[in-house]
Symmetry: C2
Subunit: 301 residues, 2 copies
């Protein structure tokens, strides 16, 4: 049987990490946007004589060490007595490590597809397993619970799905321009001194967003956070300033990747696209806001 | 401007009421199903010289006393300084009082549409206002939070959205047969002696469902609950037994309405429809399971 799960890509606009010895209570506060592009996970299950789990990224089989989070999720959900082949094919619309929640998307998609097939877990139990392995392996802190809720989200209480609390902002139709420019290690940033500035600026932004919960305010706060923490600098900041000249709301940096994002109206697109061509940037996926829950179901052709 | 919100109808299969002086902590534990039919709320807002709020059910204007919950929700969300006309048109796919969550659907749809327009509340803040007035006016205890989550849901912690916790069961494609046969006052049942049996049987069913979280198990537990509490009896029980002869899973009673529901496969439908014709029952909406969040947005034609 073939199962497909779709998990939206998730951009963090600003955040406050919340570390905890219990991974289900670890997570983050903050805000972000779920996108109509993201991660598709196809799980094929056939019974056999031996238990095998295989993971592939964008069609290429990967070793266990490269997909440790997804393997750990699969090992925990597949019943111990199961014998057969489980193939987990993960397809990403964004490049890995650029801040679009691929790691959480792969983990959550794997968890939901296997939970759907084996019927031994509830939705929250499966999602908690994905969150746990994300946190334990420092894939991310808040992506899984954000992806579970969709939309423009505010994480008001940290933790795994069912423990943390996620709110949403009402939003009119916006396009989300994304510009993935390079990798940034979440782990390295979280282990560095910048964490103190992130905590201070993140708390400030969260308080201001809850007082005025609009997408427009979110973008202003995101940009303040990105600049005040010093994370948005150099070439990335220069490109952001170029884009700002052409659209109404400030652009900002994807937390955490060398990537930019902006909310804009359909009619603002052509001028921005022209500018990006001038800057020799040709990979800039334009998405919608994904206002739904992740999808999982049997896949027929 | 015209805003539309869609809120799924919600059937409770079994429940445990949780009373609390603070309406945000009151609610219910239990399980139920959100349907692809439900409540559409259209809100039309025009500024003017005076503040007026009008509510209509299925196209007919109703007095404040008849739509007290929706009026209370509107009064709380519409900013005090607003002057103009707010018209709230609620259209229900199911008859009122039959156990399909119309009251919560109207309240939540009103809250989300007004929150969307005025941008002064987050999604959870708006949903909490709907929950609060539902509870204060004994419209229902668990419908609002169940409708916020969609799908086949398990309420594992009681309370308003953001406070209570709702889980979901993975489910293959099922059709939901609904048979609304009459009204039943939630308020009268909750004020009667049967509450003790409801609490005992509801807890038992919840524990068993979490151990084996499947739609099939849900239907068996729902039927046990309905019969063991004595709520399903007489003519309703006779009809349920007739339907059971034709489908794989037991049918059960909608909590709380004189209504029945069943999960069945497409191929089981024709024989059941024939039987319902024999029984002279001709209103039996057939729905899908609504696996999404409520929808809200600007309505253009």
């Amino acid at each position: 049987m073939l199962i497909r799960a779709f998990i939206p890509a998730h951009i963090t606009a600003f955040f406050v990490p919340r570390f905890n010895e219990n991974p289900l209570f670890a997570g983050s506060l903050g805000a972000g946007i779920n996108l109509t592009k993201g991660t598709n996970v196809f799980v094929s299950i056939e019974s056999g004589l031996e238990r095998h789990i295989h993971v592939a990224f964008n069609g290429e089989p990967v070793k266990k060490e490269q997909a440790f989070i997804s393997y750990s999720v699969a090992e925990e959900i597949i019943p111990q007595e199961f014998e057969g082949d489980v193939e987990i094919w993960q397809y990403f619309d964004f490049p890995n490590g650029h801040g679009f929640g691929n790691s959480a998307g792969g983990a959550l998609g794997t968890a939901l597809a296997l939970g759907y097939y084996f019927k031994n877990k509830t939705f929250l139990q499966a999602a908690q397993i994905a969150h746990k392995h994300e946190v334990l392996n420092k894939g991310g802190l808040g992506d899984v619970i954000a992806q579970v809720h969709g939309g423009i989200e505010i994480r008001i209480k940290a933790g795994a799905p069912g423990i943390g609390v996620v709110d949403n902002i009402f939003s009119e139709e916006y396009k989300v321009l994304t510009i993935p420019l390079g990798r940034l290690s979440t782990r390295e940033v979280l282990d560095s001194d910048v964490v103190k500035a992130i905590e201070k600026e993140g708390q400030k932004a969260l308080g201001k967003l809850l007082k005025n919960p609009t997408p427009e305010n979110l973008m202003h706060l995101a940009r303040d956070f990105a600049e005040n923490t010093g994370l948005l600098n150099g070439e990335l900041l220069e490109i952001a300033k170029e884009i700002d000249k052409l659209i109404k709301l400030p652009s900002s940096m994807v937390m955490l990747g060398k990537s930019l994002f902006a909310l804009l109206r359909e009619e603002e697109l052509p001028r921005v696209q022209e500018k990006l061509r001038d800057l020799s940037i040709d990979n800039y996926p334009i998405c919608g806001i994904y206002n739904e829950k992740p999808k999982v179901g049997r896949w027929i052709g």
